[in-house]
Amino acid sequence: MSKLTRRNLITGTSVLALALAAAATPSLAQKKYDDGASDTEIKIGNIMPYSGNASAYGAIGKTSEAVMKKINDEGGINGRKVNFISYDDGYSPPKAVEMVRKLVEEDKVLLVFNPLGTPSNTAIQKYLNTKKVPQLFVATGASKWGKPKEFPWTMGWQPDYATEGSIYAKHILANHKDAKIGVLMQNDDYGKDYFNGFKEGLGKENEKLIVQVSTYEVTDPTVDSQMIQLKNSGANVFFNITTPKFAAQAIKKAAEIDWKPVHYLNNVSSSFGAVFKPAGIEASQGILLALYRKDASDPQWANSPDIVAWKAFMAKYMPGADIRDDGHNYGFSVANTLVEVLKRCGDNLTRENVMKQAASLQGFEAPMLLPGIKINTSPTDFYPIQSVQLGRVKGESFELFGQILSNESK
């Protein structure tokens, strides 16, 4: 062992320093941050209607927040803690713009995740695209979110309404030769999106199969009058474009007035807890719908690992929450998709890389998705989930049938 001299010490230290520098330089070059990201933290912004008429959807935001808490408890994403900032926009577009500006300009978030509602997202889309801030996995099924050429910073998540509508139309054409179709539809963009996709699926020559379209306003107390119109139109196939409360009313009323058409219900209302149980399980039998997620209360998934994990998560991080509320199911699935994207970003946490990673998910199986349904994106495909499977209500469970129907673009 050599004697500790001044020279030795200096040489040793400088060698050490050089070695350290050599080790550190490449990783320093890799670490890249935009606003909202650092060595210790990732800031994510979110807006949700926690108050007002659409406050029921607030469950989604609360779930996403709880998922991030769970991730932080487990050590964060690549060692960084997630700081999830969620504001109330009351489902009001002007408020949404105000809150998103606050997120971007004051809180300086890396990205805006899962903002809810077609009107709110429409209002903030231009701003976020001008500022080049990701508007990632928006919580609406409108068909206009996957347009990377015009809006490279906006990406959807769930299957879009128009695609789903056209899937029903094709199923009707293939299975019901003498279909006379009655449509009940919410009179707004959401209803029209479904209906336009449905008409497209039927094709021009088959549009005459639609014998009655009855609309309702969200302010209508009931849809009883519309259901009577539909029954008397002689329709034998019923396409039901309604949100959960009205779906339950329609199912109940159809049973009361003894109208038994082939009943197609939009995915928006595919919930046992919020639709079929209140409407009556018996009256709901045989209803057909397109599904992409597992219903957590469906006994057939009771042992599926993601449902088991979800139940444990709900018990630990959201005690007291109403587990029948589908928002918790949806929120868990979409928040985990974000976590996957951020994991893939590694140490390059720039907004550009976030979009790049989000647009290169191939075959990712987010929790709660039906077996065989995967998330696929590419630089030209900004529609993450484009597969559904048809199912029918049987007992207190969805009986899936046929193969996975995909509408993958490019």
Binding site: S225, K245, A279
Partner: protein
């Protein structure tokens, strides 16, 4: 023709919903001279309470009187605690308080019971009878209960000394006080009774529209329309007004749809039924400001 009967029957059933709430609105107006914007939310809150008691094992007919009584107490305390200090405040301040109450009860129900719709069992037996395809047992029950409630209120105001005292306190507080009526008590009593009537309305409406915090938001609008058409100062008028609005909106949609089917021209339809119903309300009020059955109040100046 078949459909016309069905639409009228369904309108009658919806009308019963509006009539019930209109009755509660009239109660407050007759006894305090105010229109309570929070009436719908109070009724919704009572319906949730009723559901809660039923969830704990009470039957509907046991839960309803309990909840009506609790609502009565809530109504009285709202008047005593919140509105008493505003006795001499301008009408606008009171309107703001009502809107505040609306928001408070709405959020409270949301945070206590959640936003997922709940099934509220109908208290009436689900039997099939001649014509049950047109109007269900619950709907008939609702119409009957509304009429009974009306009868009870009519008798109360017309034939009991306390009812007379309440009317006097609302219409002319100064003179009422001079003849020895405790005006403050009467106002609180009016609030309590209105809340109790609202509880009955909520419990009857919930089986039809499903129980959730927003359930009364749109019904309140129709309830107002009904109360105003019939005359906000007359319980009988309010009930009649509720039925008129209910039937009218269905007929507008029905005839609009018929016209579109036969001529291909779209004039009115489901989207415009509320608008047309409200135009009729405005017309009635322009021609007869006190409503169809309301009495004209003459104020000496």
């Amino acid at each position: 023709m078949e459909q016309l009967i069905q639409q009228v029957a369904s309108g009658l059933a919806n009308g019963a919903i509006y009539a019930c709430l209109a009755l509660a609105l009239v109660m407050i107006f007759v006894s305090t001279d105010h229109i309570n914007f929070a009436q719908g939310e109070l009724a919704m809150f009572s319906a949730f309470l009723c559901w809660q008691f039923m969830d704990w094992g009470l039957t509907f007919w046991l839960a309803l009187p309990v909840v009506a009584f609790i609502s009565f107490l809530v109504g009285v305390s709202v008047e005593r605690v919140i509105l008493r200090p505003l006795h001499n405040a301008p009408v606008l301040s009171i309107v703001v308080v009502f809107i505040g109450l609306l928001a408070i009860f709405h959020s409270m129900a949301g945070s206590i019971w959640g936003h997922t719709i709940k099934q509220f069992p109908s208290p009436f037996p689900n039997v099939h009878f001649a014509g049950s395809g047109y109007i269900g047992p619950h709907q008939i029950g609702m119409v009957v209960v509304t009429l009974l409630l009306l009868l009870a209120l009519f008798a109360f105001f017309r034939y009991t000394p306390i009812g007379l005292a309440m009317r006097a306190a609302a219409q002319n507080p100064v003179s009422a006080r001079l003849v020895g009526i405790r005006v403050d008590m009467m106002l609180a009593l009016g609030w309590g009774l209105a809340a109790a009537v609202g509880a009955v309305a909520g419990a009857l409406v919930a089986p039809v529209v499903f129980l959730e915090p927003n359930m009364m938001a749109s019904i309140l609008l129709y309830g107002f329309a009904g109360a105003l058409v019939g005359g906000i100062s007359s319980p009988g008028g309010a009930v009649a007004g509720g039925f008129i609005v209910g039937i009218l909106e269905n007929l507008v949609a029905y005839f609009g749809n018929l016209l579109e089917k036969s001529t291909g021209i779209y004039v009115v339809g489901n989207g415009e039924k509320l608008m047309v119903a409200l135009i009729i309300v405005i017309t009635v009020l322009t021609l007869k400001p006190s409503g169809l059955f309301g009495h004209v109040t003459v104020k000496r100046v």
